[in-house]
């Protein structure tokens, strides 16, 4: 099991402190939810944990070693806006399997998991939002990651599509994949979260087991989120 640690991560841009001494430690599979208002720094933090952004100071540690290329290859990420290559559905899966050095024969399983068996040859860019997001999650899982990052994977989806994605996530955790995801959907946090991190203005406001935080958060901002109040 992967032990992922953020050690004092700070990052500023244009004189603004986007992340401010963020320290976190994830040992379980989760799902671990990062919550917080728009602009809190959630997406930036996820990019940093995946090695796509370098912190000004601090470090990301995987099993107590600095995040390197090998460790990064054991991670996968689904972006806030799914990125589809200008190819067919099948070719998008093939591409991911190929870069991960996995057999092409595994594509069929993931096509089925994504529910896209009858859209195999369709250009991936022409998929609907829900279909594209399903493919993005399946494609990320096809890599066989130890850790999967998801940036608001269901924010633009209807309940049926959301249920499908949540099913894929739950199955991934059962299969031993550590899941770290961002969501604004309090219902989703209640359904899936094991652990919750509340980020606010680039700082970790509080963090803990989901059932504790959902029941009795210490901070007013977190309680407001849990109650579904508009935090402004």
């Amino acid at each position: 099991m992967t032990r992922l640690r953020a050690d004092n991560l700070s990052w500023s841009q244009g004189g603004r402190q986007i992340l401010d001494q963020v320290s976190l430690s994830f040992a379980g599979l989760g799902p671990i939810f990062i919550i917080g208002p728009n602009g809190a720094g959630k997406s930036v933090l996820l990019r940093m944990l995946h090695g796509l952004l370098q912190p000004d100071s601090g470090a990301v540690l995987v099993d107590d070693r600095p995040l390197n290329m090998a460790a990064r290859r054991a991670q996968a990420m689904v972006f806030q806006k799914p990125v589809m290559l200008r190819r067919s559905v099948q070719a998008n899966l093939d591409f991911a399997l190929n870069v991960a050095g996995r057999p092409a024969s595994e594509a069929a399983t993931w096509l089925e998991a994504a529910g896209l068996q009858d859209k195999v040859h369709q250009p991936a860019k022409s998929l609907s939002g829900g279909e594209a997001q399903r493919l993005a999650v399946a494609r990320a899982l096809a890599i066989g990651p130890k850790t999967l990052f998801l940036d608001e994977p269901t924010s633009a989806l209807d309940p049926a599509a959301t249920a499908h994605i949540e099913g894929l996530i739950a199955r991934a955790v059962q299969d031993g994949v550590q899941v770290i995801m961002i969501s604004h959907d309090i219902g989703q946090v209640r359904r899936l979260a094991q652990e919750v991190v509340m980020l606010h203005q680039g700082r970790v406001l509080e963090t803990g087991p989901a059932d504790v935080l959902m029941g009795a958060a210490e901070r007013g901002e977190t309680r407001a989120f849990v109650n579904g109040d508009l935090l402004v």
């Binding site: 995946h50 796509l52 290559l85 250009p123």
Partner: protein, 236 residues
Amino acid sequence: MSGFTEELAGALALIFSGDAALWAVVGLSLQVSLSAVLIAAAIGMPLGASLAVFRFPGRGAVQVLVDTLMGLPPVVIGLMVYVILSRSGPLGVLNLLYTPTAMIIAQVILVTPIIAALTRQAVAASHEEYGEQLASFGLSPRAALATLIWEARPAIITALLAGFGRAVAEVGAVMIVGGNIAHVTRVMTTTIALETSKGNLALALALGVILLVLALGVTLAVRLLQGGPQDTRAIS
């Protein structure tokens, strides 16, 4: 007016009768310009893609060079190549002046910056869209380059077509370094210039019609690539 109609009829007769002199000129034009585009693509595509993705020492200087060469009038490029290839020039010993090879060299210099600049633009857009995803897949920037170029292929083919259009339509540079010698270095544009001045409008018009058709073909191909049904983002 009747004079023009006659000349046009003569031109069409030349085209459709398969006039040997006419088609030899067309053939040489295509040979020179297609060779030039092929070589320019081999240089300009990797160069443009590298400029889009990598930060390397001298990158700024290369950008300035590419942009400057792109803005240079073709006759100036012709003059530069002439000076280099002329008997007393640094490459005079190669005896290339007034040969199709000299014309290819001039057109390569003319077209490479266009292909490089358009490729840079296309690959920069593709990097913007796919760069993070490819990095997330664990690809190094070098390994990602081929995919970025492949994802930008409609725009890159457009760049190649634009380069070909520029090369085949150019007069000044090939006139200077080719010398417009009959049966040797006479291409469509230089023949038009010469035959028009001699009053042989039929041949000039015939070549004009062929260039027009070529230009139309390139334009249609570009439109097809950019507005094709494949690209669903063309709307937004």
